[in-house]
Each structure stands twice: as structure tokens, then as C-alpha cells.
């Protein structure tokens, strides 16, 4: 009898679903992390046997990169450039395993004051941008390079602020134009600003964000990383197939995060910061949600960031991105 019981227990153990692997995750608080929000909401992680122990939303990639260096985050959905900074400058042991979107940055302007890009050179036009080392900053530098606007006439007057401070400055007319990541760029359109330029206008291809994991996790438990990548891919496919439902889900998460971080109180003249699904939908339509990463494109972006003096050392694409998992 006991032999039968033992056999049943053995069979149960052998064929039981994979035990849930706990992960601590971080995302950027914007539509770049849409696939993470959708995967959370639609249970794609659970279906892959992953349990998200907790997720933290960070205002910018830079803040998230700083948190990554402390080492208590297993996986993060974040902009490529700050992740690369953490890898190259702080020797943060992380690897990018998957792309999450292309594009996702915009130049918003006060249409009464700025009609074309050349207007940025005017002394009375005040410009805001996220801090150096962010993807929005890389977009600004690329825009200046591509449109042959003299960096020296622009950079000294750029106010370096986070997205919430930028919105506050726009609302109080302290700045006339801002280089912002989505969904912030689309959000300020609701405040009368106009999208003058998008990242796809200056970059034929532009890797936006990536899914990064701790190297240790990749080494010790590649199966978990594969399942995480799979859940992300499934979420991306689902989002592209159901854009309006996806925008509702993302809007819900962004509004929760805005409430949690008391963002409305930090923006002058705003009582609440509801992020309507229409705005999120408009923002998401400006991004191309995809998971592929091509080595040459990755290298081009790394070289651009290195050329701008943001990296301590040259980095090979294959050092930072695990193309094996993508294949």
C-alpha cells in the first residue's frame, strides 16, 4: 500500500505545474512599460509559473538605473540608454534580454511660440528636457545632430527636470518646449501643447526600452528568464492585437501609480492627474511594441551614446544584450 502511495506522490511531483518562481520587478512609470502592465493584468506571468513578488514604478530610467545598481531588483523594463549607463558606468551586472518597444519620445512645443525646430535657437524660447543619460536626452541630442542645430546654442539653456516638473513648468509657462518620453509627451498635448517631432522622425529605428535581468539570475536560472521573456512576448502580441483594451489597462495602472506617487500635488495648478485611456491610446500608438533587437541597431545606439561622452568605455552590443535568448 505504501508503495502505491509513494508512486502516486512521485507522479504528482513529476507532473505538477512548475512551482512559482518569485521575482522582484521594476518598471518605468510610462507607456514604455505597457507590456509589463498588460502581463500583470492578464496574468501572463502566472501562466508562465512566475510570481511577481513586488513591482516598483520609477519616474525615469535614471532613477530605475540607480535602483538597479543597489542590486535588489531581479528584472526591469526600462529605457535602453539608462540601462546601458548602469551597465557600462557602474558595472551593474545586468543583461538586456528582449526589446519592448521602438520609439516613444517626443518634442512638444507651445504652438504660439514655436512653429519650427529653428525656433529653438531663439533666446526667448525656454527648453526643458530630462536629465543627461536619459533616453529623452539622447533623443534631444539626436534631433540637434540630425537637424544641424548648434548644440552650443541650445544645451546651455536646457532645464534639466523630471517629467512631472516639466509638466508643471509647461503649465505655468516657465518653459515653451520639452523633450519628453511618452506618455508625458501625449499628456501635455491635453494642456494645449503640440507634438512637433517624434523620435521616429529623427531615427529610422530607435530601440526604446528593453527587459533587463540580473546576470546572476540569467546564469543560475535561465529557465526563469526564458519564462519571463515568454510572458513579455505574449503580452506584446496581445497588446498589438487588442490596442484599445491594452490602453485601458495601461491607463488604469498609470492612474494608480500617479495616485500612489501623489503626482497631481506636484504639478502646479492640478488637482488630479487622471490619465485618460484616450491619451494613453494616443501615446501607445506612437510606439512600436516589438521584442526584437538587432545587433547592428543596438551597436549604433551604443556608439551614439558613447560618442556623446555618456559612457565610461566603449561597449560591444553582445556584452550588454544576450542575443542568444532572443534567437
Amino acid at each position: 500500500m505504501w508503495k502505491l502511495l509513494l508512486a502516486i506522490l512521485f507522479l504528482l511531483a513529476a507532473f505538477s505545474p512548475v512551482s512559482a518562481q518569485e521575482l522582484k520587478m521594476a518598471v518605468e512609470f510610462n507607456t514604455h512599460a505597457a507590456c509589463a502592465y498588460v502581463a500583470l493584468d492578464k496574468g501572463f506571468y502566472e501562466k508562465e509559473g512566475l510570481k511577481i513578488k513586488g513591482y516598483e514604478a520609477y519616474m525615469t530610467g535614471v532613477a530605475l538605473a540607480a535602483a538597479l545598481t543597489k542590486g535588489d531588483i531581479d528584472a526591469a523594463y526600462m529605457c535602453f540608454v539608462p540601462a546601458l549607463n548602469a551597465f557600462a558606468n557602474a558595472s551593474c551586472p545586468i543583461k538586456a534580454i528582449l526589446g519592448t518597444h521602438f520609439y516613444g519620445y517626443g518634442l512638444v512645443v507651445d504652438p504660439k511660440k514655436v512653429r519650427e525646430l529653428r525656433d529653438l535657437e531663439r533666446r526667448d524660447v525656454k527648453i526643458a528636457c530630462l536629465r543627461e543619460g536619459t533616453a529623452a536626452d539622447a533623443f534631444m541630442l539626436r534631433t540637434l545632430e540630425k537637424t544641424k542645430i548648434d548644440e552650443r546654442s541650445i544645451l546651455p539653456k536646457v532645464l534639466r527636470v523630471n517629467p512631472v516638473a516639466a509638466i508643471g513648468a509647461i503649465r505655468t509657462k516657465r518653459v515653451d518646449t520639452a523633450f519628453l518620453p511618452e506618455h508625458w509627451a501625449s499628456l501635455v498635448e491635453d494642456y494645449g501643447m503640440k507634438m512637433l517631432l517624434e523620435s521616429k522622425d529623427v531615427w529610422d529605428y530607435r530601440i526604446g526600452s528593453v527587459l533587463v535581468v540580473k546576470e546572476e539570475l540569467l546564469r543560475k536560472d535561465p529557465g526563469v528568464v526564458r519564462r519571463l521573456a515568454l510572458a513579455t512576448k505574449k503580452a506584446t502580441i496581445w497588446m498589438n492585437a487588442h490596442p484599445s483594451e491594452a490602453s485601458r489597462i495601461v491607463a488604469k495602472y498609470l492612474s494608480i501609480e500617479a495616485e500612489r506617487a501623489s503626482l497631481a500635488e506636484r504639478i502646479d495648478g492640478t488637482d488630479s492627474l487622471d490619465i485618460p485611456p484616450e491619451t494613453v491610446g494616443r501615446s501607445m500608438s506612437r510606439l512600436e511594441y516589438r521584442n526584437d533587437l538587432e545587433e547592428r541597431q543596438v551597436q549604433d545606439l551604443i556608439d551614439f551614446v558613447y560618442k556623446k561622452g555618456y559612457l565610461k568605455r566603449p561597449v560591444r552590443a553582445s556584452e550588454f544584450v544576450d542575443f542568444g535568448l532572443l534567437r
Binding site: V62, A65, A66, T69, N85, A86, N89, A90, S91, C92, P93, R131, E132, G133, T134, L155, P156, K157, V158, L159, R160, V161, A165, R174, Y310, K312
Partner: protein, 247 residues
């Protein structure tokens, strides 16, 4: 000579410990705890590439302008309050009310009043420099030996001549010590003011380094700041001593 060597031993030991521990834990800490040799290399590299100089000069100019204007006003008002009873009675309550407000506490207000620009750090430094200089000048003027003033008056000096020939020279040690204290502090507050969205200056470079997670550059900036604060205080200390030793 022996005393100098002994005095420098703790400094040398500190840097040696830092270098060794940083090298030892390099794999674990990555670039978050760079050794002093790396910081020194980065300081030299930034200097040679002109990056440090560009940021440094902007901060330096802000400190000089802010400090001189704040100190000048402080000396003027301090003299008035120390010399004229009426000025003291009317202005002292106001100064006492404003003095406890930390200079950095003015930043949100100044951001609204003057906006984020060159004027913001200059005003913060001026406010920071004004109060200690004003108080020490006032104290200096009030502590001038009354007998000296009586003698001047007996000799027929006018009130103005007594002030310029007797009171101010006698209160110079107080004024100089006020200037010394606030000069070093000016470097401490300028950084905080520059960190708020100002595109150039050592504070801006610090913020840039922070966002790029370049701890070596952060430490290089802190080293420059510490050095400048120290040098400014030393200059005034030297002037103070030179003044005390003068016949």
C-alpha cells in the same frame, strides 16, 4: 619637518585604506566605490578636456558675485546697525527674524520670483553671505573701545570721520572673521542651488554624473568643492592674520 610628516600620516593612511579596500571589493561594488587613483585620473581627464574648467568657472563667478554682493550689503547694514541706534532698533528685529531661515530655504521662493537661471544661485549665495557678515560687522562696530571714540571726538573728528578712521578699522577683525565664515559656506550653498536644473556649474556636473551613475566624477566634483571652500577660508584667514600682525 617631523611634525609635518606626522600630521600627514592620517591623511595618507586614509587614502591608502580607501585605495586598498576599493580595489579589494571592486568585483562586488563595480563602479560604485572607485579608488582615489581613479578619482584623481578622472579629475585630471576632466581638467584636460576643459569640462571641469567650464563648469568650475561658472560656479566660481556665481560664488564671487553672490558672495561680494551679499558681503557688501552685510557690511553696509552691519555698520549702520552698529553705529546708529535708530538703524539698530528698526532693522535688528527684521534681521533676527530672517537670519534663522537657511539660505537653501529661500530657493523655492526665488524659483518663483526670479525663475531658474543665473540669478538664482547668485541670490542664494548673497543671502547666505549677508547675515553672518552683517552680524559680525554690527558686533565689531558695537565693541569698539568707547574711549577711542571719545578721544576722536575730543580731537574734533566728525561722526563720519570717527566711523571711517576709528570704528571701522577697529572692527576689522570681526568683519574679516564674518567674511571668512561665509566665504567657505558660499561654496556649500552654491552646489545645492546649481543642482536645481541649472545647466552649467559644478552642481550641474554633479547632477549629470549622478544621472550617468559616474561616482568617480561625483567624487572629483566634491574634491574640487572641498578644495575651493578650504582655499577661500584660508585666504581670509591669511588676510586676518596679516592684519593682526600689521603694526
Amino acid at each position: 619637518m617631523k611634525r609635518k610628516v606626522l600630521a600627514s600620516l592620517p591623511v595618507f593612511a586614509f587614502f591608502l585604506c580607501w585605495e586598498l579596500s576599493s580595489r579589494f571589493f571592486e568585483k562586488r561594488t563595480g563602479g560604485l566605490f572607485p579608488p582615489p587613483s581613479v578619482v584623481a585620473y578622472e579629475t585630471i581627464r576632466l581638467s584636460f578636456e576643459g569640462i571641469l574648467a567650464d563648469h568650475f568657472w561658472r560656479t566660481f563667478l556665481r560664488v564671487i558675485i553672490g558672495f561680494l554682493s551679499g558681503a557688501f550689503l552685510g557690511v553696509l547694514l552691519g555698520i549702520a546697525m552698529g553705529w546708529k541706534g535708530l538703524a539698530e532698533r528698526t532693522l535688528h528685529p527684521l534681521i533676527s527674524l530672517l537670519y534663522p531661515i537657511p539660505a537653501l530655504g529661500w530657493i523655492p521662493l526665488l524659483m518663483i520670483w526670479v525663475g531658474i537661471g543665473e540669478l538664482l544661485p547668485i541670490l542664494v549665495i548673497a543671502i547666505h553671505s549677508f547675515f553672518p557678515v552683517c552680524y559680525s560687522t554690527m558686533t565689531g562696530i558695537r565693541n569698539v573701545d568707547r574711549r577711542l571714540i571719545k578721544v576722536a571726538r575730543t580731537l574734533g573728528y566728525s561722526s563720519r570721520r570717527t566711523l571711517f578712521s576709528v570704528a571701522i578699522p577697529s572692527s576689522l577683525p570681526y568683519i574679516l572673521s564674518g567674511l571668512r565664515l561665509s566665504s567657505g559656506g558660499a561654496w556649500r550653498v552654491v552646489i545645492a542651488a546649481e543642482m536645481i536644473a541649472i545647466p552649467k556649474g559644478l552642481g550641474a556636473l554633479l547632477m549629470k554624473a549622478e544621472s550617468l551613475i559616474r561616482v568617480d566624477i561625483i567624487l572629483a566634483c566634491l574634491f574640487v568643492l572641498s578644495l575651493m571652500s578650504f582655499l577661500f577660508e584660508r585666504v581670509f584667514l591669511w588676510i586676518e592674520r596679516a592684519f593682526q600682525n600689521s603694526p
